[in-house]
Amino acid sequence: MTQRFLSHADLAALVAAHRRVIAPVRAKDDARQTDYLPIRALADAALGAALPRRSLKEFFLPPTEVLLSYRQTKEGVEIKEVPTQAQPQVILFASPCDAAALEVVDKVMDWEYRDELWFGRREATTIVGLLCSSMDSSCFCSAIGLGPDSPRGSDVLLTPVEGGYLAQVITPKGEALLAHCAAREASAAAVAQAETARQQARKKVENNAPAIPDGFAAWLEENFDHPVWRTMALRCHGCGACAGVCPTCHCFDIVDEHDSSDEGVRRRNWDSCQTAKFTLQASGHNPRQGQSERFRQRIQHKFSIYPKRFGEILCTGCGRCCRVCAGGMDLPEILGGLIALAKKGQGESGQ
């Protein structure tokens, strides 16, 4: 991994040189919040503010997107394909938990059938991550094996240092992005400063939740019928807000929409396993009857099913689900409880 120094001017030039740059921007409706939005100039970006309300997911899997459009003709149906090639874009100052999430979701999107809509956007996007400094008590990335300085999913990772940034170039795409910037070797002082910043950042989240232990996925699978699930979701409203803000929740619905004329579109929309309708079968039978079962699915999918199928935890510890939950459901706390149960269970079976 090469480390380079980028001045603010370098970065400003980089923003100016690209047609579409996304970065955290102060929310119009609430100055305390930020959103990932297109920017024109580096000064539009909000640095060191809160974690953006929504993750980067929507730039790759929009809340609603057209899969195809169709037209009824006398001869039958004509289908118009949607292009799978996307406009090039740069995501600047991505939070490491959001960047990592994309790589995690890549796995399912490439599972035997390749989702060209997702990968079209992934390939056209260069991600510049930034050492996280906006963590709060809801963050638990280190429990998942990531951290505020995790390079995962970023093409370039920036760490603020005196006068600019230390840039770690992680991928060839990152290299290409910085090709036009002056190649300045990072000074030893800058490298040391960055290392201190990373350590400090790591310390801030380390104690928010216990690390996921080995064998946790297997424990969850074995304990699918554990009584703990029955009362875990009492305060959950089943609203699915958590899925909307989650950087890794990727479940979707496919629907057709038409008007009275002969044209229409097929769309893919975000969906959530927390709603009753999600698994409701045509016969009226629902395999996941109640909120306890639905919440169990959420936890199982993230911490057992996905690890089992893809070797990855489907969570990056961004903490958004706890921040938005109207019922006060708290993922780090729930995980802590489950981990304690798992350890106790393993202790007992070991005796």
Binding site: L67, L68, Y70, Q72, G76, V77, I79, E81, V82, T84, V108, M109, W111, E112, Y113, R114, D115, E116, L117, E221, F224, D225, H250, C251, F252, D253, I254, V255, D256, E257, H258, G264, R266, R268, D271, C273, F278, T279, L280, Q281, A282, S283, H285, P287, R288, E293, Q297, Q300, H301, S304, I305, K308, R309
Partner: protein, 276 residues
């Protein structure tokens, strides 16, 4: 062409099976697809009525009959009602084939018992015709099929045809109260009918499909007859959207019905979390 884009198919024949169940016979519009399309018994597809959406059904026709596919569905929701409004010559979308299939090859040289309830005959029918079209490669073939009432039995013409064939045993049953005065079959629920019709599990595979409650009560009967759980095959139909392992709703624990299924052995189902 992205993975969510369907192939266009033309409806060439419509058969009403019951008051609310209909079979569509479909042909690919693109000649290349019509020539090259291959599938295995038990696989499923996503059928679309344009403007209304997609619905998941198994392919009900046999892979031995090339050039067309058939699907049978009950009109319950938005898509199935829209499919029902279509006529011969109209266009539907099809994505597939998806999922795994029945062990048609593995079963060669052995006997097969097919057990189905209600519209559960559709996926089983696909396997039945596959076996019947290669009849000399299998030993005994037994079909136990039942429905709530005589009117709910599907594929009546084929039941008629099977009943006349000497190379298979057909046992038809309707639930008590569902019989008509001229009903000649059994008046019994499926588990009872299976007990009567099937005498041995020796060298035999079982293929079973029907409502969850029927499967629940038939499996113990098969076990009592001596069927190993690895030799009992069934097919699950969870709610699906993509059929490709992405949309995240058909899983039972870590098992994705669309990718690991829809065909499972009773042994596999026993190992899954009981969240059907």
């Amino acid at each position: 062409m992205n993975i969510y884009q369907p192939h266009l198919m033309r409806i060439v024949e419509i058969t009403d099976e019951t008051v609310d169940t209909r079979t569509l016979k479909l042909e690919f519009k693109a000649p290349a697809m019509a020539r090259e399309f291959q599938f295995c018994a038990g696989q499923f597809g996503e059928y679309s009525a344009f403007g209304e959406g997609e619905s998941t059904f198994c392919i009900a026709s046999s892979p031995t009959r090339q050039g067309y596919i058939e699907c049978s569905f009950k009109s319950t929701g938005k898509v199935t009602q829209a499919l029902r409004r279509l006529g011969v010559g109209d266009t539907v979308g099809f994505r597939g084939p998806y999922g795994n299939h029945f062990p048609i090859e593995e079963m060669k040289g052995h006997s097969v018992v097919f057990i189905a309830g209600g519209i559960g005959l559709a996926p089983v029918r696909c396997a039945i015709w596959n076996v019947l079209d290669l009849r000399d490669q299998y030993k005994d073939v037994t079909i136990v099929y039942g429905a709530r009432t005589v009117g709910d039995l599907v594929y009546k013409r084929e039941l008629e045809e099977w009943s006349r064939r000497a190379d298979l045993r057909l046992c038809l049953a309707v639930d008590p109260g569902g019989e008509t005065p001229d009903w000649k079959g059994e008046v019994a629920r499926i588990p009872t009918a299976v007990e009567k019709a099937v005498t041995t599990a020796e060298d035999t595979y079982a293929v079973i499909c029907g409502p969850p409650i029927m499967i629940k009560f038939t499996l113990p009967v098969l076990a009592k007859l001596g069927f190993a759980a690895e030799r009992i095959y069934t097919t699950l139909e969870n709610r699906m959207k993509c059929g490709l392992g992405k949309c995240g709703r058909c899983n039972i624990g870590a098992t994705y019905v669309c990718k690991d299924g829809p065909v499972f052995t009773a042994a596999e189902m026993g190992r899954m979390p009981q969240e059907f």
